[in-house]
Symmetry: C2
Subunit: 214 residues, 2 copies
DNA sequence: TTCCGTTGGAGAGTGCGACTATCTAAACAT
DNA sequence: ATGTTTAGATAGTCGCACTCTCCAACGGAA
């Protein structure tokens, strides 16, 4: 397959594919002559993954490169590769220190994780970016006067805990060499699914309660 | 309160506050002289909301302006104001038409919403941005060969349906004039909460299954 | 064999979004 | 009197994701 065909079949312009090649998001094709290279199905597949991460998952290009390099890092076991890839994904800014709302938020988050049996030796400790994002968001809500203590957070935690089990069931069904990619793709691409379903559910529930039905 | 104090108490630089004033995200202060204005607690509160939406919720500045104007639109009832504000929020790109994966995705999403008793006359129909985001994400997963039919989506839908009930309970506890802002703030700011909890849950579950425990 | 279109490679340019800096004249603050 | 702060306006910066332009080397059809 030549560049033009790769572009055609993926719906990505040749200019953008060249850009991704330059940025190291795609392996160079097999060089046939000085000005010709041949691409295979695996290039098409990788390109589709890259596009999905960038366009649907809103992952920045430089981050995508890091995620992809974690995918192929043979020196790590499956859990570590998934961990490295997920840590590289975009997160909200780290919490502002020296702030009373951040202090309270840290405290509530610590209490929450205490009540769940999540083992932070597996990578969910206070230093992980996801933990920081959680603290930042809880602090912002606190500053605005909206409740988000353990009582409010627990239902969310229990819900996503359930979901993560069914999701990893899905991942486990793939052959071992495809599992890390599956975990990353599902982590990133199920986020918009989750968020849009939530917005639809909220719209429905809000209508049920607050709509004028004359 | 002068500009400098507003800046101090909010942690936002005076240059950025001026920028927000220019962009219409903040009401001008009460003009005392030609070169002096007085800001009140409501400015501080609004500024904190703006910052939370922009920094934590990653809402673009122009979108924030639209959301805020929906908040104060007296001509709409509560549900419509929430609807307008939520529709303005950022969404993944609309689905690519004339694409087999998009067709399949539309079909699966329609089946899913059929099985739930969500009433699309309330604003969750196929033309809403959240619906489009859902189709886009499902199509991307489909193209990559990951399963996301009704069977996989239903658990997500049921989970967020539960959450939206408890969330709207929270909103309903506020006095009527604060409800729309509460709905918007909770919609936007619980998103990072949900996503970071999910990543923590997945990290934990992945560790439980795939970690080398020697 | 002669062209016209395509390719890989590399650098420069574009458009956008979110600030940030500079400037001016007025008005406090000491 | 004088140094600081302010509103208001304009211009500049920075990062990001492309997108454009060139070039010399092919490769396929006439």
């Amino acid at each position: 397959m030549k560049l033009a065909e790769l572009s055609e079949r993926s719906g990505v312009s040749t200019a953008t594919i060249k850009y991704y090649l330059r940025e190291g998001l795609l392996q160079p094709g097999r060089r046939v002559t000085a000005t010709q290279a041949e691409y295979g199905e695996e290039h098409l597949r990788r390109l589709r993954l890259v596009r999905a991460l960038i366009q649907v998952g809103r992952v920045p290009v430089s981050t995508t490169r890091e995620v992809l390099s974690a995918l192929g890092d043979e020196s790590l076991d499956q859990h570590s590769r998934i961990g490295v890839a997920v840590e590289a994904l975009p997160h909200a800014p780290l919490p502002v220190e020296d702030d009373p709302a951040t202090e309270r938020a840290r405290h509530e988050v610590a209490k929450l994780l205490d009540r769940l049996d999540w083992d932070d030796s597996r990578g969910s400790g206070p230093s992980s970016p996801a933990y920081g994002t959680l603290v930042t968001a809880v602090a912002a809500l606190t500053r605005l006067g909206y409740p988000c203590g353990v009582e409010e957070l627990l239902p969310y935690a229990r819900a996503v805990s359930q979901l993560s089990v069914t999701e990893l069931d899905l991942v486990a069904r793939f052959p071992e060499e495809e599992r890390v990619e599956a975990a990353v793709a599902l982590t990133v691409l199920y986020e918009p699914v989750l968020l849009s379903l939530r917005r639809l559910a909220e719209t429905d529930e809000s209508g049920r309660r607050f709509m004028n039905t004359e």
